[in-house]
Amino acid sequence: MSGVLSIANLRLRRGEREILRGVNADVRAGELVALMGLSGGGKTTVLRCVAALETFEDGVIDVGGVVLRPGPAPSRNTIRELRTRVGMVFQLHYLFEHLSAMGNVTLAPMQVAHVPRADAERRATELLEALGVAHRRNALPRELSGGEAQRVAIARAMAMEPPLLLMDEPTASLDPARRGELGETLLQLTTTGRTLVVTTHDDDFARDFATRVIILAEGEVVEEGNPREVLTNPQHAATKRLLQSARSEK
């Protein structure tokens, strides 16, 4: 089986609160999985666990052969392996404040993949163009609008072309048109065998572009399946509650 990511029984506590209570999920190559759920449900936390930015109490995460286990931070080698397979886009962008948009996107290709500067910049320009922010390539992060910053952050992660890309709310600050463009771009990637796990609050986006949707509620996966089915005809109470209002007046 071509499992790119498998999460088994993931549990995580922060102080008193049990944030993840046994999350199970499998993602195959070429999928575009939408991770949905109520705000505070643990979506970001799941992605951070997969990227080894959080330690967890129980469960196993397998990223195409690289295995993360509970307890202290994984070994340096595991981390190095993992970084070549997983990329991440953060909810709050976390752009490098001292570098321009172009600098942000080319840093890793030049320093990690040792791509010559000219090549890295050409590739970065392509990405920024695809996302519609190429005209702001020389701006510093503080000079970007919310949506522009978000797209630069997406370009930064895509530039490394990781087999598995985790994206935390990439659509949050995008207008409907840009959201559509992003969806198309992501679908394009899946056709080349890359895999995407995207958290989103936008059910239209999930419906239009996701190949599968996973609903997270109170730290557990409560429902998953074809996005059109799940989102149009939710089975679980939590999913119903999640979609309730948005559909109420349509």
Binding site: R83, G87, F90, L92, E97, V112
Partner: protein, 497 residues
Amino acid sequence: MNLIRRPASLVLALLFATVARAQTPILHWGGDAEGGAPFVEADPNDPSNLRGFDVEVAGEIAKGLGRRPEFVQVSFSDIDQSVQRGDFDIGMSGVEDTPARRKMLAATIPYFEFHEVLTVRAEDRGKFAALAALRGRRVGTLGGTIAYEKLLAAQKTDGVICVSYDDDVHPYADLRAGRLDAVLLDNIIAARSMRRVPGLYTEPRPVATSHYIGVLATNNTALRDRVDEVLRARMRDGTLERIYRKWKIWDDYQPAFFASVLNAEKAVQQREKRTAEGGATQDLGIVLRYIPALLRASLITIVLSCAAMALAVLVGVFIASGRVYGSAPVRAILTMYVEVVRGTPVLLQLFVLYYGLSSVIRLPAFLAALLGLGLNYAAYESEIYRGALEAVPRGQLEAARTLGLTESQVLRLVRGPQAFRIALAPMTNDFVALLKDSSLVSVITVIELTKQTSIFAANIGSWVIPGILCAALYLVLSLPLSRLAGRLEMRWKAATE
């Protein structure tokens, strides 16, 4: 008036004498009995008695004024201040006639002429007959004297190296020991020292001529004028000649000197007026003469500071990285280094490096200063960098890590550049502080700006001008730094806020 306690039988007699003497008004005169013969010294046969030619001159002055002389002991360097404050009426024990003194105090006419002479090792006799022959050689003298002024001037014109001392004994000892090649001081001190230290020779030709004067408080010109009268009278009637002959300081120059004083009575008064008016320019002259020495000292200060700061930044970055990224034992060791080095005074560290280690390794003074300052400041720098590193938002570090950057790349490319901006203000602080802490190295014989200033101040007897000059020089050294830091900060602020 102190009543000396003696066995009871003597009290009455003493009491009577005291009362009788109290009838005559007293002339308090100040001097330093440690100056020794032939100025003022305790009589070896009767220690409660003073002797010396200054004692006798003072006695003559008192007699001429119809008063009884009473001696007030004061340290030589305090004579000027003390007389001004009113501790005594007139100060006179080898007090040199200088423009500064004439400006600050009411000065009598000169009563004795002396000569600055060069003393050399006996084996160098004739080799250094004049200052010009001493180019590149070390010549010692007593700070705050005319000889010192003379030497400073020669430093510029003839390239001699001026070494100043606080007393008149060590120069001759160091001359004998080969640490100096000559000593320039007045002929009386030279003659006395020749008797103390064997194997020296004094060149007969004087380098400069000066005079001894009495000094009185500025507002005391009335008494000064009467003292001048008395001095002139004693020159005329041969009393002074008799005294000087008795103390073996009469020489062939004195008759001509006496004549010039007596003839130029008017001229002298005019000169005083001129001096009072020309004071500002003369001050400027003194100050200008010191500027080269101060600039040289500044150069040492700046070279030392820059080198030490470079060392501090280098070592500091390593320590900070080690403390943020290192393993537990590495962290513990580095923390200890920081606490110990930061927690103990750099003065002490310099002492230990220079003197304490001298049995193991004998570091040159400059190197010890550089190492001491550099390693000390490294501890401070490391703390600043550590704080700054930890102030960089964690989200950016995570973003960098998920991009596959190694920890050291994260440090170099993301964390470091942003931390540097935060560290800039405290770093500038430290550089400026280092510039000034470099003044501490004077304890290990490196003469830098502050030390040179204190020499300057001691010599012109006031801290005001040297203090302002020194402050100005430090400012000139530190301002470009602040400017640079300010500009960098500005640019980053514009760029990343």
